[in-house]
Symmetry: C2
């Protein structure tokens, strides 16, 4: 935490995309890509070292909080190297022809397991349900801050996927703007709804169920499938079958159902690839106060979902320059493999 | 070249983005990320092996083409593993709720240097001018095919940047659609022009020249700078100071000027980073027949440029899920470093 004030958000005048400029400014020699072999000598996310982390925000525990005999299942702490800071004003202003604001928001770490070497999907569905409950509770809490426009949860597994730690953790970020990728989804869903008077995600669920060839797994309440026009090979989405725009509204029985399908999909990916590097993230409706005002319009056209992105390829100048992605494995064959494995 | 017909292009119904689905379909075990240490045992791009490559499309040579004593400076061949194939119909059609077409287009490899271990920027400005001339000539030629909507040039340097070969090469792709990233730039530039009646790129050149803090190098005809809201740290753009929408129109004196500034920027990046992995690509106005019809509207609001992206970080679920990028080094400090090095 070298930073001495909020980092800066800047808007690209061409693409309308915000980027975060850190005020610690690394020198060229400080950029080193970590290798898979490197492991931390000492992990502060492991039980017994709770006092070495920043103050805990919440936890799910089974036997109290006595600091000595304590046993927690999940634990949330502030990020060690936050891009966004909670305190401060937005400081929106122009800078020449450009636009900037302060990096006000939240960055939290969700410790998904007390075991350094055991992922939640390997601890039984109950542990995955605790992880999902932790996600929901933090999102609901952060929705209350009127400065934050969006909150999202993401996970980096493996060095190729940008992971910096080997303990099973995921991350949360609340941002004072709606991030570009999310805005694109919201705009796309709105355009579709305006034309068809139907939710594009509900239509996708119907279409995938009808076609069947891209479905990996279906439970009572969720569908897991490889999207028709995936960005990455073996990309898999998990979507509630019943329309709902916000993950924040997920009910306990839905969490239980999702914990099962999510654990199975992650295990299938792990069995399929020798070194499983992947990212996942939840896309939910944006977070606005007073929320109910926007509920009716947002609620109809957006549908929350979780996207899992295996990182099997390195993106090249082709993808960065064009935004056109190449899938060496078709979504149909990926789904077939994941279904059978 | 395992493929047995054109690959498929599919459109994401949510984001409007096309992806290419290859019909060779790799199995999970076939995904292996190459390491920096791996080198090809035998390079077919080196002189003397011209007959081992697919038939040459063009070359710039200094002493004829006699196959034995031949000396070429740059050489263009079809891609060894093309995503797009030249022959065939577009085959646009619906598939359930989705949209698809055949992967008709062109993929070419531009061999930038006859020397396996010497990049064009190290062979003097003349060699870089030959590379730029080759780029232009291929783009002008491919513009003539009415099935192709867009042609772009890109380069992958280093394994982290997606390079598969170690010989200095760059790539060309002609696509039957305007790729999403390019369309976003065109749309953004059009919106800006509609509001201000000025080209956003010309405004950026004026603003950067005025501010000065992000300029790396300026020549008579070009400006090299680190954009205000870069996507990656040390990202550098090279832009012609005089308004022009199409790289295809570049004149010999501009090529000469650009060869100098481009070579110097690439050398500066190489001196700055131990293992220089980067991508670059040229964004030019789309390619339509009859082109002149669209010239006046497209010509005013778009401005061709070259973007260089050092690959110093691995993108994580944060960037993929949000589209919000984090710069650990500010564009001002990056420009200062690159200016001084």
């Amino acid at each position: 935490m070298k930073s001495t004030g909020p980092h800066e958000l800047r808007k690209d005048p061409l693409l309308g995309r915000w980027v975060a400029v850190l005020n610690d400014s690394l020198l060229p020699s400080e950029y080193v890509l970590p290798s898979d072999e490197e492991r931390e000598k000492r992990c502060i996310f492991c039980p017994g070292r709770e006092e070495e982390t920043p103050p805990e925000i919440m936890s799910i525990s089974s036997c109290g909080d006595d600091r000595t005999g304590r046993q927690w299942w999940t634990r949330v702490i502030p990020s060690l190297d936050p891009v966004f800071q909670v305190e401060g004003e937005l400081g929106r202003k122009g800078e020449g022809m450009y636009d900037r604001m302060n990096g006000i928001g939240a960055n939290e770490i969700i410790i998904e397991s007390p075991e350094h070497f055991v992922n939640p999907e390997d601890m039984g569905f109950e542990q995955m349900a605790r992880v999902l409950t932790t996600y929901r509770d933090r999102m609901v809490d952060l929705d209350r801050d009127p400065r934050f426009r969006y909150t999202f949860i993401y996970k980096n597994e493996g060095r190729e996927a940008g992971a910096k730690f080997s303990h099973p953790i995921s991350h949360l970020a609340s941002t004072p703007i709606i991030p570009k990728r999310v805005k694109e989804e919201l705009d796309g869903a709105k355009r579709y709804f305006a034309y068809k008077d139907r939710c594009v995600f509900c239509d996708i669920i119907n279409e995938e169920t009808r076609a069947g060839s891209r479905v990996v797994l279906e439970t009572e309440k969720f569908l897991a499938f490889c999207p028709y026009a995936s960005k990455f090979p073996f990309e898999t989405w998990i979507m509630p079958k019943k329309h709902n725009c916000a993950f924040q509204d997920i009910k306990p029985d839905e969490i239980e159902d999702m914990a099962g399908i999510f654990s199975i999909i992650l295990k299938k990916l792990r069995v399929s690839f020798a070194v499983p590097s992947y990212n996942y993230y939840i896309h939910s409706a944006p977070n606005r106060i007073p929320r109910k005002d926007h509920w009716h319009t947002l609620g109809e056209d957006f549908h929350w979902h979780l996207e899992i992105m295996p990182r099997l390829l390195r993106t090249s100048g082709f993808e960065w320059g064009s935004g056109l992605y190449v899938l060496p494995t078709s979504p149909e064959l990926a789904a077939k493999h994941l279904k059978e494995v």
